[in-house]
Symmetry: C2
Subunit: 72 residues, 2 copies
């Protein structure tokens, strides 16, 4: 994988997807806040039955998803 040497060594996502993924396919949503070892927020969706995808925190549908979670 492409190693980032500017202090982002522990980032999990090398690239992120912006295209919509239906909530029906989610097993879980993992949010990795900006931390010492990764300088950006990362959002990783685990899919049913398997697989993971890094999604772009700036994508409008991702922002809506997080808002909906916060309001339940």
């Amino acid at each position: 994988a492409i190693l980032e040497v500017n202090g982002n060594l522990n980032c999990r996502c090398v690239k992120t997807a912006s295209d919509y993924i239906s909530p029906k396919r989610y097993e879980s949503i993992e949010i990795r806040p900006v931390g010492s070892t990764c300088r950006r927020t990362e959002i990783i969706i685990k899919l049913k039955p398997s697989g993971k995808v890094c999604v772009n925190p700036e994508a409008p549908w991702v922002k809506k998803l997080l808002k909906r979670i916060a309001s339940t």
Copy 2:
């Protein structure tokens, strides 16, 4: 672990904590939306350097945390 047989077989959290955990200690926040195999939303915080804790989605500080994530 206590096995729940009312369709919650795949819930990860048997019980949840409501007391505040400082964001400095988070490695990640995992949200498991209500699904076919678990009838309740589960929020699992992975702690630095290790350890996991299930937190109560209804606890005020958890709701604030999710709102803050949604607004970044």
